[in-house]
Protein backbone atom coordinates (compact mmCIF):
# COMPACT_ATOMS: atom_id res chain seq x y z
CA UNK A 1 0.00 0.00 0.00
CA UNK A 2 1.31 3.41 -0.94
CA UNK A 3 2.35 5.54 2.08
CA UNK A 4 -0.10 8.23 0.98
CA UNK A 5 -3.02 5.84 1.06
CA UNK A 6 -1.92 4.54 4.43
CA UNK A 7 -2.65 7.98 5.87
CA UNK A 8 -6.31 7.47 5.09
CA UNK A 9 -6.49 4.27 7.11
CA UNK A 10 -7.69 5.98 10.35
CA UNK A 11 -10.33 7.87 8.39
CA UNK A 12 -11.51 4.64 6.82
CA UNK A 13 -11.70 2.95 10.21
CA UNK A 14 -13.60 5.91 11.59
CA UNK A 15 -16.09 5.77 8.73
CA UNK A 16 -16.64 2.05 9.25
CA UNK A 17 -17.17 2.55 12.97
CA UNK A 18 -19.54 5.46 12.32
CA UNK A 19 -21.67 3.33 10.01
CA UNK A 20 -21.84 0.49 12.54
CA UNK A 21 -22.66 2.78 15.44
CA UNK A 22 -25.28 4.61 13.41
CA UNK A 23 -26.88 1.29 12.58
CA UNK A 24 -26.77 0.45 16.28
CA UNK A 25 -28.87 3.49 17.10
CA UNK A 26 -31.88 2.03 15.37
CA UNK A 27 -31.49 -1.53 16.69
CA UNK A 28 -33.45 -2.64 19.70
CA UNK A 29 -31.10 -4.66 21.92
CA UNK A 30 -34.08 -6.02 23.83
CA UNK A 31 -35.72 -7.49 20.75
CA UNK A 32 -35.52 -11.25 20.51
CA UNK A 33 -36.49 -13.35 17.54
CA UNK A 34 -39.26 -15.73 18.48
CA UNK A 35 -38.28 -19.36 18.51
CA UNK A 36 -41.87 -20.28 17.71
CA UNK A 37 -42.09 -18.70 14.29
CA UNK A 38 -43.22 -21.28 11.72
CA UNK A 39 -43.99 -23.76 14.45
CA UNK A 40 -47.45 -24.74 15.66
CA UNK A 41 -48.87 -22.74 18.50
CA UNK A 42 -48.61 -24.70 21.78
CA UNK A 43 -51.65 -26.54 23.12
CA UNK A 44 -53.41 -25.21 26.15
CA UNK A 45 -56.37 -25.89 28.38
CA UNK A 46 -57.26 -22.74 30.27
CA UNK A 47 -60.41 -20.92 31.39
CA UNK A 48 -62.06 -18.16 29.42
CA UNK A 49 -62.00 -14.79 31.16
CA UNK A 50 -65.67 -13.99 30.60
CA UNK A 51 -67.28 -17.12 32.07
CA UNK A 52 -64.55 -19.51 33.23
CA UNK A 53 -65.41 -22.09 30.56
CA UNK A 54 -62.44 -24.23 29.55
CA UNK A 55 -60.84 -23.26 26.26
CA UNK A 56 -58.49 -25.35 24.16
CA UNK A 57 -56.43 -24.57 21.10
CA UNK A 58 -59.09 -26.00 18.79
CA UNK A 59 -61.54 -23.34 19.98
CA UNK A 60 -59.57 -20.47 18.53
CA UNK A 61 -57.63 -21.94 15.61
CA UNK A 62 -59.35 -22.18 12.24
CA UNK A 63 -58.89 -18.77 10.76
CA UNK A 64 -56.01 -16.31 11.01
CA UNK A 65 -55.86 -14.58 14.35
CA UNK A 66 -53.84 -12.28 16.52
CA UNK A 67 -53.03 -13.53 19.99
CA UNK A 68 -52.43 -10.52 22.18
CA UNK A 69 -50.75 -10.94 25.56
CA UNK A 70 -52.12 -8.37 27.99
CA UNK A 71 -52.55 -7.63 31.67
CA UNK A 72 -53.95 -4.88 33.83
CA UNK A 73 -50.53 -4.31 35.41
CA UNK A 74 -49.06 -3.58 31.99
CA UNK A 75 -49.04 0.13 31.27
CA UNK A 76 -48.19 -0.29 27.59
CA UNK A 77 -51.20 -2.58 27.20
CA UNK A 78 -53.40 0.32 28.16
CA UNK A 79 -51.65 2.41 25.55
CA UNK A 80 -52.27 -0.08 22.75
CA UNK A 81 -55.79 -0.97 23.87
CA UNK A 82 -57.68 1.67 21.84
CA UNK A 83 -55.82 0.69 18.71
CA UNK A 84 -56.61 -2.99 19.24
CA UNK A 85 -60.23 -2.00 19.49
CA UNK A 86 -60.05 -0.21 16.18
CA UNK A 87 -58.42 -3.25 14.62
CA UNK A 88 -61.18 -5.43 16.01
CA UNK A 89 -63.81 -3.09 14.62
CA UNK A 90 -61.98 -3.32 11.30
CA UNK A 91 -62.51 -7.06 11.32
CA UNK A 92 -59.20 -8.32 12.70
CA UNK A 93 -59.68 -11.51 14.65
CA UNK A 94 -58.03 -10.90 18.02
CA UNK A 95 -57.83 -13.22 20.99
CA UNK A 96 -56.35 -12.15 24.29
CA UNK A 97 -54.16 -13.91 26.79
CA UNK A 98 -54.73 -12.36 30.16
CA UNK A 99 -51.22 -12.96 31.41
CA UNK A 100 -50.46 -13.36 35.13
CA UNK A 101 -53.30 -11.15 36.10
CA UNK A 102 -56.18 -10.94 38.52
CA UNK A 103 -59.28 -12.03 36.58
CA UNK A 104 -61.55 -9.74 38.56
CA UNK A 105 -59.43 -6.70 37.69
CA UNK A 106 -59.15 -7.87 34.10
CA UNK A 107 -62.92 -8.08 33.66
CA UNK A 108 -63.30 -4.62 35.18
CA UNK A 109 -60.69 -3.28 32.76
CA UNK A 110 -62.54 -4.68 29.76
CA UNK A 111 -65.84 -3.31 31.05
CA UNK A 112 -64.32 0.11 31.42
CA UNK A 113 -62.17 0.33 28.28
CA UNK A 114 -64.04 -1.96 25.92
CA UNK A 115 -63.25 -5.47 24.77
CA UNK A 116 -61.42 -5.94 21.47
CA UNK A 117 -61.03 -9.69 22.02
CA UNK A 118 -63.18 -12.52 20.71
CA UNK A 119 -62.24 -14.15 24.00
CA UNK A 120 -59.52 -13.76 26.54
CA UNK A 121 -57.70 -16.81 27.84
CA UNK A 122 -56.89 -16.66 31.53
CA UNK A 123 -53.23 -17.54 31.98
CA UNK A 124 -52.90 -16.76 35.64
CA UNK A 125 -49.76 -18.78 36.30
CA UNK A 126 -48.16 -17.89 32.99
CA UNK A 127 -47.87 -21.45 31.65
CA UNK A 128 -49.17 -20.64 28.18
CA UNK A 129 -46.96 -17.56 28.22
CA UNK A 130 -43.96 -19.79 28.97
CA UNK A 131 -44.88 -22.17 26.16
CA UNK A 132 -45.17 -19.27 23.76
CA UNK A 133 -41.90 -17.73 24.87
CA UNK A 134 -43.51 -14.57 26.23
CA UNK A 135 -41.04 -12.39 28.09
CA UNK A 136 -43.11 -9.31 28.69
CA UNK A 137 -46.40 -7.73 27.83
CA UNK A 138 -47.68 -6.60 25.41
CA UNK A 139 -46.74 -9.19 22.85
CA UNK A 140 -48.79 -10.17 19.86
CA UNK A 141 -48.57 -13.43 17.94
CA UNK A 142 -49.79 -13.77 14.38
CA UNK A 143 -51.24 -17.22 13.92
CA UNK A 144 -52.43 -18.58 10.60
CA UNK A 145 -55.51 -20.67 9.85
CA UNK A 146 -53.58 -23.88 10.50
CA UNK A 147 -52.56 -22.74 13.97
CA UNK A 148 -48.95 -22.03 13.02
CA UNK A 149 -47.20 -19.00 14.52
CA UNK A 150 -46.09 -16.76 11.67
CA UNK A 151 -44.85 -13.66 13.45
CA UNK A 152 -44.37 -12.26 16.90
CA UNK A 153 -44.49 -8.57 17.67
CA UNK A 154 -43.07 -7.38 20.98
CA UNK A 155 -44.33 -4.07 22.34
CA UNK A 156 -47.19 -1.74 21.65
CA UNK A 157 -49.08 -1.97 18.38
CA UNK A 158 -49.93 1.47 17.14
CA UNK A 159 -50.99 2.86 13.84
CA UNK A 160 -47.49 3.43 12.52
CA UNK A 161 -46.27 -0.06 13.35
CA UNK A 162 -49.46 -1.66 12.06
CA UNK A 163 -49.43 0.12 8.74
CA UNK A 164 -45.70 -0.21 8.08
CA UNK A 165 -44.93 -3.65 9.37
CA UNK A 166 -47.89 -5.65 10.59
CA UNK A 167 -50.66 -5.01 8.07
CA UNK A 168 -48.76 -6.76 5.25
CA UNK A 169 -48.17 -9.78 7.47
CA UNK A 170 -51.83 -9.89 8.39
CA UNK A 171 -52.83 -9.54 4.75
CA UNK A 172 -50.55 -12.49 3.90
CA UNK A 173 -52.19 -14.61 6.56
CA UNK A 174 -55.58 -13.72 5.15
CA UNK A 175 -54.54 -14.43 1.60
CA UNK A 176 -52.95 -17.78 2.38
CA UNK A 177 -55.71 -18.99 4.66
CA UNK A 178 -58.10 -19.58 1.75
CA UNK A 179 -61.05 -19.63 4.11
CA UNK A 180 -64.32 -18.08 2.90
CA UNK A 181 -63.85 -15.30 5.41
CA UNK A 182 -60.63 -14.23 3.77
CA UNK A 183 -62.36 -12.52 0.86
CA UNK A 184 -64.42 -10.25 2.99
CA UNK A 185 -61.70 -9.67 5.54
CA UNK A 186 -59.06 -8.79 2.97
CA UNK A 187 -60.76 -5.50 2.31
CA UNK A 188 -61.16 -4.61 5.95
CA UNK A 189 -57.97 -4.47 7.95
CA UNK A 190 -55.80 -2.47 5.61
CA UNK A 191 -53.80 0.19 7.28
CA UNK A 192 -55.43 2.89 5.22
CA UNK A 193 -58.96 1.91 6.16
CA UNK A 194 -58.16 1.88 9.85
CA UNK A 195 -55.99 4.94 9.63
CA UNK A 196 -58.85 6.98 8.21
CA UNK A 197 -60.99 6.09 11.17
CA UNK A 198 -58.33 7.56 13.39
CA UNK A 199 -58.41 10.92 11.71
CA UNK A 200 -62.11 11.50 12.08
Amino acid sequence: MAPRLKLFLPLGLFALLAVLLFRGLSLDPQALPSALVDRPMPDFRLPRLADGETMVKGDIVGEPLLLNVWATWCISCRVEHPYLQRLAEGGVNIYGINYKDDSEAARAWLDELGDPYRSSIVDESGTLGLDLGVYGAPETYFIDADGVVRYRHVGVIDERIWSTRLAPIWADLQASSGSPGAVGAAALPTAAGIGEGAGS
Binding site: A35, G126, D131, Y135, G136
Partner: protein, 169 residues
Protein backbone atom coordinates in the same frame (compact mmCIF):
# COMPACT_ATOMS: atom_id res chain seq x y z
CA UNK B 1 -6.51 8.91 78.63
CA UNK B 2 -6.94 5.16 78.43
CA UNK B 3 -10.47 5.52 79.55
CA UNK B 4 -11.27 7.98 76.77
CA UNK B 5 -9.74 5.69 74.16
CA UNK B 6 -11.71 2.68 75.31
CA UNK B 7 -14.87 4.76 75.46
CA UNK B 8 -14.34 5.84 71.86
CA UNK B 9 -13.58 2.26 70.84
CA UNK B 10 -16.72 1.10 72.60
CA UNK B 11 -18.84 3.71 70.87
CA UNK B 12 -17.36 2.74 67.54
CA UNK B 13 -18.03 -0.91 68.14
CA UNK B 14 -21.59 -0.04 69.01
CA UNK B 15 -22.01 2.00 65.86
CA UNK B 16 -20.57 -0.83 63.78
CA UNK B 17 -23.04 -3.23 65.30
CA UNK B 18 -25.94 -0.95 64.39
CA UNK B 19 -24.68 -0.54 60.84
CA UNK B 20 -24.16 -4.28 60.49
CA UNK B 21 -27.66 -4.98 61.76
CA UNK B 22 -29.06 -2.38 59.37
CA UNK B 23 -27.25 -3.93 56.43
CA UNK B 24 -28.47 -7.35 57.43
CA UNK B 25 -32.07 -6.12 57.54
CA UNK B 26 -31.63 -4.45 54.16
CA UNK B 27 -30.48 -7.76 52.75
CA UNK B 28 -33.48 -9.73 54.01
CA UNK B 29 -36.02 -8.84 51.31
CA UNK B 30 -33.44 -9.67 48.66
CA UNK B 31 -33.09 -13.13 50.15
CA UNK B 32 -36.82 -13.55 50.51
CA UNK B 33 -37.64 -13.31 46.81
CA UNK B 34 -35.44 -16.23 45.83
CA UNK B 35 -37.69 -19.18 46.37
CA UNK B 36 -36.39 -22.48 47.66
CA UNK B 37 -37.16 -25.85 46.21
CA UNK B 38 -37.03 -29.20 47.94
CA UNK B 39 -35.25 -31.70 45.77
CA UNK B 40 -35.78 -35.42 46.07
CA UNK B 41 -32.12 -35.99 45.23
CA UNK B 42 -29.03 -33.83 45.92
CA UNK B 43 -27.86 -34.62 42.40
CA UNK B 44 -30.97 -32.87 41.03
CA UNK B 45 -30.18 -29.87 43.16
CA UNK B 46 -26.66 -29.74 41.77
CA UNK B 47 -28.04 -29.88 38.22
CA UNK B 48 -30.63 -27.24 39.10
CA UNK B 49 -27.89 -24.85 40.18
CA UNK B 50 -25.77 -25.62 37.17
CA UNK B 51 -28.61 -25.17 34.68
CA UNK B 52 -29.99 -22.04 36.31
CA UNK B 53 -26.51 -20.52 36.03
CA UNK B 54 -26.40 -21.38 32.38
CA UNK B 55 -29.87 -20.22 31.37
CA UNK B 56 -30.23 -16.58 30.54
CA UNK B 57 -33.16 -14.42 31.56
CA UNK B 58 -35.00 -13.32 28.39
CA UNK B 59 -36.18 -10.09 29.98
CA UNK B 60 -33.10 -8.83 31.82
CA UNK B 61 -30.66 -9.89 29.23
CA UNK B 62 -27.39 -9.84 31.10
CA UNK B 63 -28.41 -12.00 34.00
CA UNK B 64 -28.87 -15.71 34.29
CA UNK B 65 -32.11 -16.98 35.76
CA UNK B 66 -30.39 -17.84 39.04
CA UNK B 67 -29.51 -14.18 39.64
CA UNK B 68 -32.57 -12.51 38.24
CA UNK B 69 -35.71 -11.67 40.16
CA UNK B 70 -37.76 -10.92 37.08
CA UNK B 71 -41.08 -12.79 37.15
CA UNK B 72 -40.10 -14.57 33.96
CA UNK B 73 -36.99 -15.91 35.68
CA UNK B 74 -39.07 -17.14 38.60
CA UNK B 75 -41.27 -18.97 36.11
CA UNK B 76 -38.30 -20.44 34.34
CA UNK B 77 -36.79 -21.61 37.63
CA UNK B 78 -40.08 -23.22 38.53
CA UNK B 79 -40.25 -24.89 35.13
CA UNK B 80 -36.66 -26.04 35.51
CA UNK B 81 -37.42 -27.52 38.92
CA UNK B 82 -40.48 -29.34 37.64
CA UNK B 83 -38.67 -30.72 34.62
CA UNK B 84 -35.78 -31.92 36.77
CA UNK B 85 -38.10 -33.64 39.21
CA UNK B 86 -39.97 -35.28 36.33
CA UNK B 87 -36.71 -36.92 35.29
CA UNK B 88 -35.80 -34.93 32.18
CA UNK B 89 -32.18 -34.92 31.08
CA UNK B 90 -30.11 -31.73 30.82
CA UNK B 91 -30.23 -31.88 27.03
CA UNK B 92 -34.02 -32.27 27.03
CA UNK B 93 -34.46 -29.32 29.35
CA UNK B 94 -32.15 -27.10 27.34
CA UNK B 95 -33.87 -28.11 24.08
CA UNK B 96 -37.16 -27.28 25.71
CA UNK B 97 -36.00 -23.82 26.77
CA UNK B 98 -34.43 -23.13 23.38
CA UNK B 99 -37.71 -24.23 21.77
CA UNK B 100 -39.47 -21.42 23.62
CA UNK B 101 -36.94 -18.64 23.72
CA UNK B 102 -34.38 -19.50 21.07
CA UNK B 103 -30.62 -20.03 21.41
CA UNK B 104 -30.56 -16.71 23.20
CA UNK B 105 -31.47 -18.32 26.53
CA UNK B 106 -28.29 -20.34 26.64
CA UNK B 107 -25.08 -18.76 27.80
CA UNK B 108 -23.36 -21.63 26.00
CA UNK B 109 -25.23 -21.75 22.70
CA UNK B 110 -24.92 -24.74 20.42
CA UNK B 111 -22.07 -24.43 17.94
CA UNK B 112 -24.15 -24.49 14.78
CA UNK B 113 -25.80 -22.09 12.36
CA UNK B 114 -25.62 -18.43 13.30
CA UNK B 115 -24.25 -19.14 16.79
CA UNK B 116 -21.24 -20.87 15.27
CA UNK B 117 -19.82 -17.40 14.70
CA UNK B 118 -19.96 -16.73 18.42
CA UNK B 119 -17.65 -19.65 18.97
CA UNK B 120 -15.39 -19.01 16.01
CA UNK B 121 -14.99 -15.23 16.27
CA UNK B 122 -12.48 -15.28 19.16
CA UNK B 123 -10.38 -17.92 17.39
CA UNK B 124 -10.51 -15.97 14.14
CA UNK B 125 -9.49 -12.79 15.95
CA UNK B 126 -6.64 -14.57 17.69
CA UNK B 127 -5.48 -16.09 14.42
CA UNK B 128 -5.60 -12.79 12.55
CA UNK B 129 -3.72 -11.10 15.41
CA UNK B 130 -1.04 -13.78 15.29
CA UNK B 131 -0.81 -13.43 11.51
CA UNK B 132 -0.43 -9.65 11.77
CA UNK B 133 2.26 -10.02 14.42
CA UNK B 134 4.08 -12.60 12.31
CA UNK B 135 4.01 -10.42 9.20
CA UNK B 136 5.21 -7.33 11.09
CA UNK B 137 8.04 -9.20 12.77
CA UNK B 138 9.10 -10.81 9.49
CA UNK B 139 9.14 -7.46 7.75
CA UNK B 140 11.24 -5.88 10.52
CA UNK B 141 13.84 -8.64 10.19
CA UNK B 142 13.94 -8.37 6.39
CA UNK B 143 14.98 -4.74 6.45
CA UNK B 144 18.58 -5.37 7.57
CA UNK B 145 20.94 -2.37 7.82
CA UNK B 146 22.85 -1.62 4.53
CA UNK B 147 26.38 -3.04 4.53
CA UNK B 148 29.15 -0.77 5.82
CA UNK B 149 31.39 0.61 3.09
CA UNK B 150 35.22 0.72 3.38
CA UNK B 151 35.25 4.51 3.83
CA UNK B 152 32.73 4.25 6.64
CA UNK B 153 34.71 1.50 8.30
CA UNK B 154 37.83 3.67 8.33
CA UNK B 155 35.93 6.57 9.89
CA UNK B 156 34.49 4.25 12.48
CA UNK B 157 37.85 2.86 13.45
CA UNK B 158 39.27 6.38 13.70
CA UNK B 159 36.47 7.33 16.06
CA UNK B 160 37.00 4.25 18.20
CA UNK B 161 40.74 4.93 18.35
CA UNK B 162 40.04 8.41 19.71
CA UNK B 163 37.64 6.99 22.25
CA UNK B 164 40.16 4.42 23.49
CA UNK B 165 42.75 7.19 23.87
CA UNK B 166 40.34 9.05 26.17
CA UNK B 167 41.38 9.31 29.77
CA UNK B 168 37.98 10.12 31.02
CA UNK B 169 35.98 7.78 33.26
Amino acid sequence: MNLVVSAIAGARRHALRIVATGLFLLGLPALAVIETYEFSDPELERRYHQLSQELRCPKCQNQNIADSNAPISQDLRKLLYERLESGASDAEILDDMVGRYGEFVRYRPAAEGATLWLWLAPLLLLASGALLLFVLLRRGRGEAAPPVSDAERERLEAMLAVREGDTGP
